[in-house]
Amino acid sequence: MAHELTTADGVPLRISLERALLRSRIRAALLVVPLMAFLLFAFILPIFDMLYRSVENSIVAQVLPETVVVLRDWDETGDALPDETVFETAVADIQAAFKAKTLGRLARRLNYEKPGMASLLRKSGRRSLRITEAPWSEQLIKIDRKWGDINLWRLIKRESDHVTESYFLAAVDMRLDDLGAVSWQPENRQIYLQLFWKTVWMSGLITILCLLLGYPVAFLLATLPLRTSNLLMVLVLLPFWTSLLVRTTSWIALLQHEGVLNDLMVVVGLISDDGRLQMIHNKIGTFVAMTHILLPFMILPLYSVMKTIPPSYMRAARSLGATPFTAFVRVYLPNTVSGIGAGSILVFILSIGYYITPALVGGRTGTFISNFIASHVSVTLNWGLAAALGVILLALVLALYLLYDRIVGIDNMKLG
């Protein structure tokens, strides 16, 4: 074998090459460090935090630390109440929690699982201070009969684990019944599956509307002479230069009961004054405003694909004997599939997680899952359920993305 090549000063060539490459790699890495750090704190960590919160359940074990320990020996499958020691420990825990003011959090947590738990715990907190000696169980049950309900103890024991599936079950309209088996929520409390479905089909319809409205515009953009198409492009991009809130509220001004459109139709005589149409604060409002707001996200990917299609394709098809329609369907359309895919997936994903517009114009019927997530975060403060709903939404989007990759191929996606 030939001896190893070296540079002029005797360092093996391979090693000095690696050194040189390493230096340029480090330089490249340094350039993206600020962005990576930003993404880590603003995006990746919050996602993990959300994943964690959707199953996190340490509150019961924190507030009733001793009770949880002694309950381990109790057989919840039988029909005997826990014994006196459990009651004694529980009373001590409740007293401590009342003094430490942590009982409220426990009350809220357990109320998600079983309505009535909150009032029970609040009631028991102060009164439990009076209990100082045996019989523990008797006195506790005297404060509220529910303490004698075996299902209550089953619930406490079940929720003493540090992780829980109950948020996810709740997010798909299910729950654990008294015996710990998975079952549907009662009919009148089932809302989330319906809401997910509504979010998906409405987003789908918005995507289709955007495609139908955006395709011809993108076609014009790609085929008109430069000066005209530049002007058109400015019009397409105009919405990006105005605030989202302004655009959404102007739809309210246009569509509301006493709004411009209704007024106009009354004046023209299309409808009578008391026959004004309800076009906002319902599904119609969401469709109109969302389609308008997301339209550019459909047009731009379509345009960037159409721009690359030479006009000679259509001409060739025509010269080969195809009518304009056939030429379009068999030659032009297939060449824009990657743009249709990219635009549709972009619009659909944006739509499925949209919050502000449905909140403003959706009323009660036109709201999306994200509006409920927001209300759980800021109104009911049920962060666990909000996180579980968020995780499901994230999974839905990822699944869609993978499906798209399978069918069209992500590499074929042209976003602009």
Binding site: P310, S312, Y313, R315, A316, A317, R318, S319, L320, G321, A322, T323, P324, T326, A327, R330, V331, P334, N335
Partner: protein, 371 residues
């Protein structure tokens, strides 16, 4: 000229403007015979593509009419004209295989599957790509794509095929090979071809007739040999082949010849092609291979002298660049025969030519009008 009855295509007084200010095609009158290979040749922007697009139906003439087999085309949409077309960038459909590309024109005509299969196979055989049917255009070389494009334009057996600089994107060797192949296909199928190029050697080797375009007007329409040997104006003489041009003033017209005076006062005789009277400025056109160095008695009328500026050895002949009557790019080809004249740089040599080889043409664009 083919007479009107057998003309497959006729342009009658066609004019075209895109912007309403400038005529891109000015008064085009052209008959194309069935089975002919007609080339439109001209510099960039001379309106060739525009003519082709009007014929194919993608542009409408601003004025005049185009007839195909005697019927006026102006209102017939492109897909009902039945004209095959080969585009410069091939325009093969990238989402279809070669087979599907070729089957496309047959499918839209509603042919049966079996019929399509035999026709596509025959077309692929014709362009010598029998096993490439399953490939996508992107998986073919430039030359192969070109062949597929030709096959696709021919597979539905049109009477007329238009080709707009179909070989423009190929390298020189492939170009020459494809020129031969297209010519061969033209001869064996008897199809009429209208071909656009701005490469004059391509036009000369392939065509039956060439229409030389400049500035939206056909400058000359003739067979390749006539075009080369008997150019009718200065533009054609300069555009086709290598040409020596000398500016001169007409002294005297006698019959088909004239006597002219060169810029340095020397007098020569030339064939008067495009001059009408004494005193006019004319451009003399003289092919380099027709100039003789050290002429004998036969060329007594046209004896002038020139100074040798540069000699380039090319094996079979020697290219000499001389200064003749103020023109310092006068080219003479000296055949490398065993007794050829030895030239040396800087020397003065006598030159001569036959009067009928020297054509007195119009003044040309570069020359000022007579004072």
């Amino acid at each position: 000229m083919p007479d009107a009855q057998e003309a497959l295509v006729a342009f009658e007084g066609v004019q075209k403007t895109y912007d309403g200010r400038q005529l891109v095609v000015r008064d085009l009158n052209l008959d194309i015979a069935r089975g002919e290979f007609l080339t439109m040749l001209g510099p960039s922007g001379s309106g060739k593509t525009t003519c082709l697009m009007m014929l194919a139906g993608f542009e409408t003439p601003t004025h005049g009419r185009i007839l195909l087999k005697g019927t006026e085309l102006n209102r017939v949409p492109p897909h009902r004209r039945g004209i095959g077309m080969v585009f410069q960038n091939y325009a093969l459909f990238p989402h279809m295989t070669v087979y599907e590309n070729l089957a496309f024109p047959l499918e839209v005509r509603g042919m049966s599957r079996a019929e399509i299969e035999t026709k596509v196979a025959r077309a692929l055989d014709m362009v010598r790509l029998p096993v490439f049917g399953g490939r996508r255009p992107a998986q073919l070389s430039g030359g192969q794509q070109q062949r597929v494009a030709v096959a696709r334009a021919l597979v539905f057996e049109p009477d007329l095929v238009l080709m707009d600089e179909p070989l423009g994107a190929l390298d020189k060797n492939l170009r020459e090979e494809m020129q031969y192949e297209i010519k061969h296909i033209h001869e064996s199928l008897g199809v009429t071809v209208v071909y656009v190029t701005h490469d004059q050697s391509e036009a000369l080797t392939m065509s039956n007739r060439i229409a030389v375009f400049d500035d939206g007007v056909i400058q000359q329409l003739a067979t390749p040999d006539v075009l080369y040997e008997k150019p009718e104006n200065a533009f054609v003489a300069q555009f086709i082949g290598e040409n020596n041009r000398l500016t001169a003033r007409v002294k005297e017209l006698d019959g088909s010849f004239c006597t002219v005076e060169l810029e340095d006062g020397q007098k020569v005789r030339a064939l008067s092609v495009n001059v009408s009277g004494a005193g006019e400025i004319t451009t003399l056109s003289l092919r380099p291979e027709r100039v003789v160095i050290g002429p004998g008695q036969d060329f007594a009328d046209n004896r002038i002298s020139g100074r040798v500026e540069e000699l380039i050895y090319l094996g079979d002949h020697i290219r000499a660049r001389l200064t003749v009557a103020g023109n310092d790019s006068f080219i003479v080809k000296v055949a490398n025969a065993h007794d050829h004249v030895r030239l040396s740089q800087g020397s003065e040599v006598p030159l001569g030519w036959a009067s009928e080889d020297c054509r007195a043409l119009d003044a040309g664009v570069g020359n000022a009008a007579p004072a």
